[in-house]
């Protein structure tokens, strides 16, 4: 395996009464790392530490072979942008973008000026170069801020909630721009957000933070489908969280709840089989639960159970069906399936989960 490009080891940071604890992760330039967490989870403090604006109490950071733990921000040269663009009001757009180059006395170099032209064309801000920040729209400011942070080819670009101040339309185009930048400039991006959709759409790797700790990391879909703690599940809005217990019998382990028993697999493979007969939670995404009409007979699929339709919520993309039977379940159906089945309130249905979608913690 390739050596990590950015390696963070056991980073601990004290920020007033708040503490970031024992943060470890790594990334490659090809990674688009999304740091996900609720407000107050320590995302911005982590970003400020990575960029060199805060000194860690403990831990190490490496960029390639070089240790950067104690380097000041101006010598790390990471690209960094906060959620509000923070352009300098006394400089025009061109000087704002060239501001970093000016610090390094490179603002007159031909190569830098050519890159400025290329970047501003790519970002659609070439016509704004002589304007001052107060006359720009939110989206334009954000693009200028992004251009400023990548002008000098930073090894890594760190973005603090880059999309949250934008309206939905601008957000979409900015998201495309970020993806395009990541691919075309070959720049590793660390993107902090509280919105899991951004992680799903942009991230190649996700790090979930809660109360100053990394609680889970992995690929976006893996985290989306298999949160490892209840806190992560709640934060990621897992629709179905059912309480029960894990029971072992005949070499198999089961998730058992009132009136229902789902086979998890052979004991050796079962999730946390050590915790048998202890409280456990089944986490299931509404899109992973399969729903079929049932005549009430017991010729059911494995890992299925019967329920009745209670009510539905109709959206322009899908229908959320709420069913009661061995607990309450939220199931997402496509509009076509919903229409085909003609489900009504009180209809008896069979709900089931594929073995690979059975996630018990």
């Amino acid at each position: 395996m390739k050596n990590p490009y950015l390696l963070v080891k056991n980073l601990t940071v004290q920020a007033g009464k708040f503490k970031l604890q024992d943060i470890s992760f790594s990334m490659q330039p090809s990674d688009y790392l999304v740091i996900l967490g609720a407000t107050g989870s320590g995302k911005t403090i982590l970003l400020e530490t990575l960029v060199g604006l805060r000194a860690p109490v403990k831990g190490q950071m490496f960029l390639g072979e070089r240790e950067i733990t104690n380097l000041p921000p101006e010598r790390r040269s990471f690209g960094f942008a906060y959620q509000d663009s923070l352009l300098y009001p006394y400089l025009n757009v061109k000087d704002n973008i060239l501001f970093g180059a000016r610090a390094k006395k490179k603002d007159r170099e031909q190569a830098v000026l050519e890159r400025l032209e290329r970047i501003s064309n790519k970002m659609g801000i070439a016509h704004l170069l002589d304007r001052y920040p107060h006359s720009l729209s939110g989206g334009e400011k954000q693009r200028v801020s992004l251009a400023r942070s990548i002008l000098l080819n930073p090894p890594i670009l760190l973005l603090d909630e880059p999309l949250s101040a934008l309206d939905p339309r601008m957000r979409q185009s900015m998201q495309e721009l970020l993806r395009e930048l990541h691919l075309s400039e070959q720049i590793g991006i660390i993107h902090v957000t509280h919105d899991f959709n951004e992680a799903l759409q942009l991230g190649t790797k996700v790090l979930v933070m809660d109360q100053g700790r990394v609680v889970q990391q992995g690929k976006p879909m893996q985290i989306f489908n298999k949160p490892e703690t209840l806190a992560v599940a709640h934060f990621l809005l897992v629709e179905n969280i059912q309480e029960g217990k894990i029971v072992k019998a005949d070499g198999l382990s089961y998730f058992r709840q009132k009136g229902n028993s789902l086979t998890l697999g052979p004991v050796s493979q079962a999730t946390r089989d050590a915790n048998t007969d202890q409280k456990a939670y089944l986490l299931a995404r509404s899109g992973n639960i399969r729903l079929a009409l049932s005549d009430g007979e017991h010729n059911r699929e494995p890992n299925s159970w019967l329920a009745r339709v209670e009510y539905k919520n109709l959206y322009h993309t899908h229908v959320d069906v709420f069913c009661k039977g061995c607990g309450y379940w939220q199931v997402a159906l496509s509009i076509a399936d919903w229409q085909r089945m003609g489900l009504r309130q009180g209809a008896q249905v069979q709900l089931s989960l594929k073995k690979e979608d059975l996630h018990v913690i």
Binding site: P73, Y88, P89, A103, Y132
Partner: protein
């Protein structure tokens, strides 16, 4: 329905009365201020003002006031910039105490400040300072010191407020762009604080220009020696030369209004860089 309608119209009526009262107070105050200025202007005439403007004593007072107040303002700015910056940016033991110290000259009557300065530069340290060639009591230097003492706290307060109101993330971004902390101060903090700093300087200058109490105590009221415009007004009023006093007062009013306009321009949020 009717009841609802009635109660709404009663609320509007009450609100209406309240606003009539507010507007009334505002208009009365404006009228009073305008009449005050008019009474001052009407008590003099063009010829008298022109004569006073040609008077050597007036020339002396004007030049002396501008010279001392500008010097005092420059000194106040030099002291207030680091003080305002440190008080705004750093938490250190005794910070609240130092911050309160700067309030003392603001809340103290200038006459009392003047007595304190007189004792300090007189019986307390006067001899030692005289050996170093510094003579503040009853001298033009005393005028500068008194004006500086009164003006500097205003500058410190304004600068502190200005630095506190800046978005520190602007500075952080500059660090990530390659600026050292010193470069950030010159290239980011100072340009961002520019309007507030100019506002503070003008405020300090306005205080120094009109200073009377502390100046009178420390530097004395000596014609053509420590005679600032305020002192000139007082001196001439006390000998019954109303024309001179009023003409001088008018010039001071003009200077004050000009400074006020400049201050408004620099402190206004609508004015963009």
């Amino acid at each position: 329905m009717d009841l609802k309608h009635q109660s709404r119209s009663r609320t509007i009526f009450k609100k209406g009365l309240l606003f009539v009262f507010f507007w009334g107070i505002l208009l009365l105050i404006i009228l009073f201020f305008l009449l005050l200025i008019y009474s001052l202007v009407s008590y003099s005439n063009y010829e008298t003002v022109v004569n006073v403007l040609r008077d050597p004593e007036f020339h002396f007072a004007l030049k002396f006031t501008l010279g001392t107040s500008l010097l005092a303002t420059a000194l106040a700015t030099i002291v207030a910039l680091p003080c305002g910056y440190l008080l705004s940016r750093y938490r250190f033991p005794g910070r609240a105490f130092f911050d309160t110290l700067f309030d003392i000259p603001i809340i103290l009557p200038p006459l009392v400040s003047g007595i304190a300065l007189l004792i300090f530069f007189g019986p307390f340290l006067g001899e030692q300072l005289a050996r170093l060639g510094i003579k503040a009591v009853f001298s033009p230097l005393g005028v500068v010191i008194a004006q500086w003492f009164i003006a500097a706290p205003f500058a410190v307060k304004t600068f502190k407020h200005t630095f506190s109101s800046l978005d520190r993330r602007m500075e952080k971004v500059a660090r990530t762009l390659g600026f050292t902390p010193t470069m950030v101060f010159y290239r980011v903090t100072m340009p961002l604080a520019r309007n507030g700093i100019i506002g503070g300087i003008i405020m300090a200058w306005a205080r120094a220009l009109g200073e009377f109490g502390a100046t009178a105590m420390l530097a004395g009221i000596t014609r053509m020696k420590t005679e600032t415009l305020s002192v000139a007004v007082f001196l001439n009023m006390s000998i019954g030369d109303m024309k001179f006093a009023i003409a001088t007062a008018l010039v001071m009013l003009l200077i004050a209004l000009t400074l006020l306009v400049i201050l408004k321009v620099f402190l206004s949020d609508e004015v963009r860089v």
